[in-house]
């Protein structure tokens, strides 16, 4: 069974089968919108809020998803498998690394201009 998944923030949508997590479904089709981290419920960057639809979920790191989060359908996309069409908004984000923050900090002027273009490139 395949379901229609809508990412509200970006109006991106994709089809996700009921044997894949929402994150894997997005990634495997080359779609974007939800940040991709560890894919194991540990790091928390793929945090989403499911605004409509149903899903099955696996255990998530309590440090990044509280019980209150879970009851508000704030979950990790890497841990949830759809059981209906789903609409979701993205909550998590990929932090900029200190390495990149340092190189593009405007207060530091144009030091490292040679590498700054590379430094801000996002992970594919």
């Amino acid at each position: 069974m395949r379901y229609h998944i809508t990412i509200e923030n970006s109006a991106e949508s994709f089809r996700c089968s009921d044997d894949q997590t929402l994150l894997r479904g997005m990634e495997s089709l080359g779609k974007r919108g939800i940040p991709v981290g560890c894919r194991g419920g540990g790091c928390g960057v793929c945090k989403i809020q499911v605004t409509s639809g149903t899903y099955l979920k696996k255990k998530m790191n309590r440090t990044v998803i509280s019980e209150v989060d879970e009851s508000n359908h704030v979950v990790l996309a890497c841990r949830c498998v759809p059981t209906s069409d789903i609409s979701l908004s993205v909550v998590g984000k990929m932090e900029k690394s200190l390495f990149a923050q340092q190189t593009v900090d405007p207060s530091k002027g144009s030091v490292l201009s040679q590498s700054s273009d590379l430094s801000v490139r996002r992970a594919p």
């Binding site: 981290g37 194991g40 790191n61 990929m94 200190l98 590379l118 430094s119 996002r122």
Partner: protein, 308 residues
């Protein structure tokens, strides 16, 4: 013996969300040997080339990440001598009794300013299944999975890594083979520290949140094994981070992936031989992308910021 004091990072305890999935990963994917499952739920593993009873401890928890890393030291006398030095440096030391882990003697523990718990111990039983010692064959049984031969090192993220460098170098006689400098002023953004000939036994990256784990690394024998590890990752649909590739820093050949709870693992081979008299290798900001991933030569936000 010229090699004294701290010998190596010998034990690491990692929190996992689901023990059955974690056992499959560490035993069948990484290729560690399962030593025992204990009544408190913890599960113990060792690499095929390790002599000690175990090196990796998994504990099921509501959170993922690092409980602690423990360094093996050369004697009980060293443990006694170093404890007051740790206290004098300003850390509170606690004692873990013998037997808290199977086969392991008394340990002392303390928490670094970076938020990581470090322990020291000397006594640990020999494993039942050690590498050979009399007319030894090259391995006791052909390694399985990726064939990880030993727990090798770890990378920690936390605040005030300059204090961690001071502690390891001044109190535990580590030295620093390599570092990444801040773009301006003093201090380092990342440091590699060792008590041995390895380019790193432990490394730190400056980070706001204390006590975070970036990765736990296991040793492979060569670049071909890193390639085979990549195949195993795809065959088993393991979450890949990056690689196979190479580090400029340490020169290790590497691949990074995640265990089923999101803890990052590395298997790597190669890297230079470090000596305490060698000059420190230093990377500046113009070149740090190449330092981290020598082939890609770009910074990668997921690699640099995804932590447990």
């Amino acid at each position: 013996m010229a090699f004294k004091g701290v010998l190596r990072p010998g034990l690491i305890q990692i929190r996992v969300l689901n023990m059955d999935e974690a056992i499959n990963h560490y035993q069948n994917i990484l290729g560690l040997n399962l030593v025992s499952k204990e009544t408190d739920g913890r599960v113990y593993f060792k690499g095929w080339d390790e002599f000690d009873h175990h090196s990796v401890v998994l504990r099921q928890s509501e959170s993922a990440g690092l409980d602690y890393v423990a360094f093996k030291v050369d004697s009980n006398d060293y443990l006694k001598e170093v404890e007051p030095k740790i206290v004098a440096w300003g850390l509170e030391v606690d004692h873990v009794p013998a037997g808290e882990q199977p086969g392991v003697g008394p340990r002392i523990g303390f928490t670094l300013p970076t938020g990581h718990r470090i322990e020291l111990y000397h006594e640990i039983d020999l494993a039942e299944n050690t590498p050979g010692t009399v007319n030894p064959d090259i391995y006791p049984a052909r390694p399985h999975g990726m064939g990880a031969s030993r727990f090798d090192h770890l990378l920690c993220y936390g605040p005030d890594i300059g204090k961690a460098r001071e502690f390891f170098c001044d109190v535990l006689d580590f030295y620093q083979p390599e570092k990444v400098d801040m773009p301006e002023g003093d201090g380092s953004l990342a440091i590699w520290l060792t008590a041995s000939n390895k380019a790193h036994d432990i490394a730190f990256v400056e980070h706001e949140t204390p006590g975070k784990l970036h990765h736990v690394a296991f040793l492979l024998q060569d670049w071909n094994e890193v390639g085979a590890a990549a195949d195993i990752i795809s065959i088993n649909d393991v979450s890949l981070d990056i690689g196979p590739t190479r580090h400029g820093i340490t020169r290790g050949q590497t691949i990074y992936f995640f265990d089923p709870s999101g803890n990052r693992n590395e298997v790597y081979a190669g890297g230079y031989t470090a000596y305490p008299d060698h000059p420190v290798r230093t990377w500046d900001f113009d070149h740090v992308g190449k330092g981290i991933f020598y082939h890609e030569r770009v910074l990668n936000d997921r690699f640099l910021t995804v932590l447990t």
